[in-house]
Symmetry: D2
Subunit: 338 residues, 4 copies
């Protein structure tokens, strides 16, 4: 009954098999290997475009910070939600990679950026006023930190306004596959077609061992050489890149990522419905693989004594995260323990 | 006949098997897993001490820079050889991680720091003179960039003088196992017993998929909390650390690292002896898994046409690197092509 | 009728005279001059202590950032008001000087930090949780950005709680003298006696040409050597420091700083009372040399047409700042133009 | 008999008079004042061009680092002499301002960059090789740290080769006026006409209180907005800029800078000729206001006992620096004490 985080799950066996399969003979190092070449096609098919470049790291923090640092100078700012992972949980990585850039924080229900606050921030942005730090990037998180999914049409609206103000649009997609399943959208619809310039496509929580792809779409590709330089400089260009590429290939082949995210979302739905059926109110609609439920202290205590693992969340709810490896039995055992 | 670099070799099968073996069930993330706990004992046995702390990354550049940044403030300098990997091949990673620290470069035969130049640098160091950047760390590379091995007694001399001047002693051990085999020294003798405070123990070139351990010995352990913070902040604390720990465990178990390095060294010896037997002079003694040989241009050209891969090196030699996966047949084919 | 900012005022003639007076003969450079030695005594008398160290720069942004960077590591955070000058008007200087530290923002009336929000921030601070950025410094601004003055007993409360949580207490005193006059407190009472560890004592707005003293009190003196190193490294250790020291000496001699701040506060009071007498509501009580008044758009427009200079402020008020050089005639002309 | 440094001299009285003269009434702050406007014309006349932008700081370290940081990214390198002030005496300021850029050091007689070493560095520069840090800027110092002057035709050769390799050309002109007098060249000839893109024009050593102009010529002007942002962010945009501008104006008016540098050079010539007449060999030709002479230890000791102030220099010589305030009497007294 461990619903603490999808980061504690094992990797899917196909991922490790893929790593073993590429472990043959000499391969060019630092990303010039054949697996990376093949992977390019795989990503292109998944996202229905050839107008992209990509890099891979083993860490979501690294991929977010690298992506952001290509578009936010040391003297600039990134606009994000006040509960965003890049603000709360990455120990200042964006500030480190950007050389001292700032995060500008916005409020909003369910860790979605409030549209009015966003418009106001963009409206009052003064890129030419030397004393203030101007905005360079809008960073959305999909799923949000409260498990909500931005839909393509929502992202389009933010992206259009952001671009009109000269901002680049980044999506932290640590749970992007869960958002795809939750919204029913295609990868292209939830990324470049909606105006996303750079996507951190997390696959680790979805089922990889450690694999987070940074994808630059369209004009953002102009930063690809810089992205690689920054990856090298920060130790995110390990010699045997084939083992990162193999993970990505395995996940994107035959829609494994979608299937695994679908499993996780299903378990979360089972949990969410179970909570509601027993009279417990959800703090936010369940749209991906996370359930935030309002539990009275004694119930929460009872669950913990029964061996359930989950976390208290800001705002008073309890967070339960399902992974590809969560089982119906675990979910039912938890609900039974209520 | 690929002798370009030991970074192009595959991982040893036992390494991938170990990764698959730990891929079962839920594990605490970010390094709090059971594999990391077991690994601590394994490292302790290999280095004959319990007075250490450690972290793992998948990149030598990252491990070097993280290690150095714990001991060199933004306002300080690291003393190293002018051909050191941290100066030449890591795209300013030490400067990035330290927040703008400097590398102070010393000359010396075979990429070993010249003892006189070292003494002079230490002697003229002025930590209290506000205009100059004072030394905080001595970084040695073992094997050096020219394939030479520092012996325990050599390191002791540098370390003693460094410490008398208040410097911390770091070893970049990207090919540490090759140095162990080359010198016949025990891991402890070539590290903490010789006065090394912090070791970047590379296992990737030796045979892992991507695994470089940072080991803090003795008083250097005071920086362990900071090391983890810096690892997190730079994206080198991926959630599923068990896959890094499993690689290290596999390599250090039953002396696999020593056996693989021994194989690589043997192939290099075969090459070196073959070159010399055919009248080609070595640029430096062969002490590890690298051979630097003076080849006339036409011979070099002939080898390349025959399919051999190797690199021209500063100073006019040609560098041939053997890995655990190099075969006698490859070596003999190369020699035959001479 | 220029009430735009006290930064636009000239320097007091005594300040320039003092600079001319020290312009005789050879003086040791980089702060080792005789004027700096004398100044130490002058500061000591003004603040009734010998337990301090100090440095001077010509810029408040520099002095704030230098002070903060000695106490907030790259991996840490500074707690301040969301409207603080260090957040809004210094173009990311604290982030730059600290190497990527963060500012954590708190709300509060009149740009004073809300006591409850402060307690909550301190209570939830987790210095040992590697993913979050922990607090290292509390920075108060006195006068605040809305012209309010913290009183000694208020600062004591914040300082006590901050220190209990391991935070260092900084005061941005760009208008410290105005706060002294406004509260009637002694310099010691509004600084070290109230628990302030490091004070940025601004004298430029008060009447200097460019002179902002960083004062480290008590245990904070342990950072004095680092402060000088950081000053040097950031270009804030110009060779002829005597010209900075002479300004400070002139200002602190015979209470010139207090007298000039008193003049400025009096003019602001004249303005404030004039506004209120004419039925215009102040947005905040007038406690220093700034007046924030709610003016209908047509009145604001009329004033501007009449030649008055002042700025619209967040929240809808208009800000009028008086300097030592503001005259009763200017104030009366402005009020007449209402 | 103080020949320690031209930084210990007072400011010329006309400089302080100019500061007092601009101390009247309200002036726009942060560089938008009328003195800055006038100064633009003054600089234009002095350098015979209108194709430039400029900023002023009170510190040569700041002006050098700001200038360099506009042209060298965190991932790039600056080529300079191994004895350059930016390497030896600025406590890592270029690394700090650039966010971790590197200095690449070249040898050469008299602190002039060796032409062959320069060509080799430029020839082996690999901007597209991700592992190495590529060159972005060439920084020359004029006068050099050994008191030699680059002539216009020398600078032209370096600049042409640098530009062909894509490098920007910077001159650290802390003693630029002394170089002008020493070479007899016009300011334009020793800067933009010779291919210099950005000049740090030091006036403090020449006779100002604290005034170092950064001048961007021609295409380098594209970085002017960034330069101001970096100045603000580093605390080098103090509010009352008029006092910096007034110094520059005084120095550049009626060729005061040239006359003061001429005086200093003359005193140095007197010293140099005196040394040589007494049989002491100069370590380098005297071309500006600095004399480097080989003194036997007993002579050096005798001078010090007689009250002379000067410094031992790397290479065994003794350095004597003359300023605008040095007198013939002092020079003669020193020579008499020999």
């Amino acid at each position: 009954m461990n619903f603490g985080s999808d980061t504690t799950a094992p990797a899917h066996p196909l991922v490790l098999k893929a790593m073993a399969r590429v472990n043959t003979g000499i391969e060019a190092s630092y990303g010039a290997d054949a697996v990376m070449v093949r992977l390019r096609e795989t990503i292109g098919r998944a996202f229905e475009t050839e107008d992209f470049d990509f890099w891979i790291t083993a860490s979501g923090t690294a991929s977010n910070a690298l992506a952001l640092s290509c578009f936010c100078p040391p003297t600039g700012a990134i606009l994000c939600h006040q509960e965003a992972h890049i603000e709360r949980d990455e120990r200042g990585a964006p500030e480190f990679f950007s050389g001292g850039g700032k995060l500008r924080l916005l409020p909003g229900y369910g860790a979605k950026i409030d549209p009015q606050a966003f418009l106001e921030a963009v409206r009052t942005n003064s890129p030419d006023f030397v004393h203030e730090t101007p905005l360079h990037v809008l960073s959305l998180t999909n799923l949000t930190e409260c498990g909500l999914a931005y839909r393509p049409e929502e992202i389009s609206v933010y992206a259009e306004q952001a671009k009109a103000a000269g901002l680049v649009v980044h999506v932290d997609g640590a749970r992007f596959a869960n958002a795809l399943v939750g919204t029913g959208a295609m990868p292209s619809a939830l990324s470049w077609k909606a105006g996303v310039d750079v996507l951190t496509l997390g696959l680790t929580k979805t089922g990889a061992a450690g694999c987070e792809i940074i994808i630059l779409f369209g004009e953002a590709r102009a930063k690809f050489a810089e992205l690689k330089v920054r990856a090298k400089r920060s130790g995110h260009m390990p010699p045997k890149m084939r083992f990162l590429a193999a993970q990505a290939e395995a996940m994107l082949t035959d829609s494994l990522w979608i299937r695994l995210a679908g499993q996780a979302n299903l378990k979360a739905r089972r949990l969410a419905e179970g909570f509601e059926a027993r009279g417990y109110k959800l703090a936010y609609p369940r749209e991906g693989n996370e359930v935030f439920v309002m539990l009275p202290p004694d119930v929460s205590e009872r669950l913990k004594r029964a061996g359930a693992v989950f976390y208290a969340w800001p705002g008073g709810s309890s967070r339960f995260v399902c992974s590809w490896a969560s089982s119906d039995e675990e979910a039912d055992a938890l609900l039974a323990a209520l």
